[in-house]
Amino acid sequence: MFDNILSGFSAILAVGPILGIIAGVFIGIIFGAIPGISCIMAIAIILPMTFYVDPIIGITMLLAVYKAGIYGGSISAILINTPGAAASFLTAQDGHALTKAGKAGKALDISLFSSVSGEMLATLVLILVAAPISAISLQAGPIEKVFLLLFAFTVIGSMAGESIPRGLLSCCLGMLFAMVGMDSITGSSRFTFGITELMGGFTFTPMLIGILVMPEVINVIRRRKVPHHELAITHSPNPADNRISFKEFKQVFRTILKSSGIGTFVGALPGLGSSTAAFIAYGEAKRTSKKPDEYGKGSVEGIAAAESANNAVCGSSMIPMLTLSIPGDDVAALLMGAFLIHGLTPGPMIFFEHTETIYAIFAGFLITDLFLLVIARAGFKFFVKIASLRRYYIFPCVTAFAFTGAFTAGQNMNDILVLIVFTVMGYGMRMVGLNPAVFIIGFILTPFLEQNLDQAFAIVGTEYHLFFASPFSWVFIVLSAFFVFSSMRMKRKASKVPAPVQEKSA
């Protein structure tokens, strides 16, 4: 493994990948910092541009956008109390309280250092754990893989939706759309209704941009009359209030380590995502803190806990994707699509078929942290200025990039129609409480399920009891039942607590 890591570093330390990482970090921070634009949107828009470069450059660039985008979200959360994602909600509480006290620099500093520390720890875990897990998962045959995929569908569908039926229905819809077109095994055409353009199925990139990106643009257009927020760093005359000292960092380092551990663990479980990690880590840090009263009122420790856990999810969410082909959340699903487009099929075989590429990507993951630290630290004022750009400058550009991205995939105008249809569908899904990310996960995983199911049927013939002969099958059945049961309990508990409803301002 050590040799692989070294060869990974030698592959990544070239002009192309480094430029890709720098560009990715830059784009990620900018997109993350602009309220109303998420890192998902950034990845989906950048994705088509990476088709034509080497996978090492393309994938590391996308991962850099992801990591930097998650950090960038804390800039708007801290400065204008507008968390771009639910995961930044806690950062906004403490960070904005510090901003109001003239300590925005301190809040931004601790957010950056915690983010980078959390990400680095999770990346190290990813590097050390992924290959051994993949070696174990290689033992799984088609029958086990069928149960593994059913487990993934159940967990993601039940954990991610607004309610369990809505989450699972989103997954089923994604599965159904994945079945449109010519079947790769039998050559039959399903659900094409005589339309030859549908023989190839729905093109992934326009569908992805339509389902995940464009509804955000539509949401901003719907709320176009909400006043624009100005971002500004407020300065206290005391220089110590505008930066984080080594002593202060040392004081919160234990919290960062613990929260990064929580984030790494939660991220490795499919379906939970960064908000869950941030909330658990924040709660744990508050429980064990010497100053729990400061939490929510400008606690540096609180920001450190939320940000390190939130960012640790970036690295560890890759673990189920790379080892078991299960994207744990929406961004992982998107990245899985990117891997597939670049000819890398996530799963245990990736460590054997593309050893150099995958370790180069891992090395790129670590180097991204260093660039994030340097670029974000050096360009605070620039990013704040860019993030304050009015939405009528940003969203016309997003529209043009979305159009180009959709066209670039197949150089076909029909893909633009796919983009429009899925834009409407994605917005409609959000309106009725269906989860677009789960839809995408269902869409991506269905071909794998069908292929393995076909092979499994060929193996068992008419002796269907063989499906349940392997202990793996039972383990995944029990785990699926456990996750559905626990998510039902969680949702029942959550429904008793009235959730605050707030309109996100753009």
């Binding site: 039998t186 055409s189 159009f403 066209f407």
Partner: protein, 154 residues
């Protein structure tokens, strides 16, 4: 808008579509036989869709019939929806116009339209952005990605 009514209508539609998938053999054309059967998985998924859609419909219908008060996500905010229709209209027009007028001619108008829709009135920077961005995208795609965006064909 009451989301529960939409739930009932949408669930009914999905149930009908799922039943069609379950009973109609004409949804598949050609191809070889396989152990699994080409419609096996779609029918399993359709079966599950009936269950989940029916669950949502029953929950929403019972709340509707009881006249229960709307909870947070059940209230769909429709303020500003006119903007959505205009945006979709702009996008459809964009799709129809690009093959004939080309990317470089159409995109500035679309960008300007979206900017105005979002309340932009600073004409000089907006026009500059609407012209420069498509030029950069067009030549960037052509030179770096080798993707040739549509050009004027009239």
């Amino acid at each position: 808008m009451d989301r529960r009514k939409i739930d009932v209508v949408l669930s009914t539609f999905l149930i009908i579509a799922s039943v069609i998938i379950l009973i109609n053999d004409n949804l598949v054309e050609g191809g070889a036989e396989s152990d699994l059967g080409i419609m096996f998985l779609p029918r399993v998924v359709a079966g599950f869709m009936i269950i989940f859609a029916a669950t949502i419909a029953i929950q929403s219908f019972s709340k509707l019939s009881k006249g229960a008060e709307l909870e947070g996500p059940e209230l769909i905010i429709t303020n500003g929806n006119s903007g959505i229709f205009i945006y979709i209209g702009i996008f459809v027009a964009y799709w129809l116009a690009v093959p004939h007028l080309g990317f470089m001619v159409t995109t500035p108008f679309v960008m300007l339209g979206v900017a105005v829709l979002l309340g932009g009135r600073n004409w000089i920077p907006l026009i500059a952005m609407s012209v420069i961005t498509p030029v950069l995208i067009y030549y960037g795609s052509k030179e770096f990605l080798r993707v040739y965006l549509p050009t004027w064909t009239l």
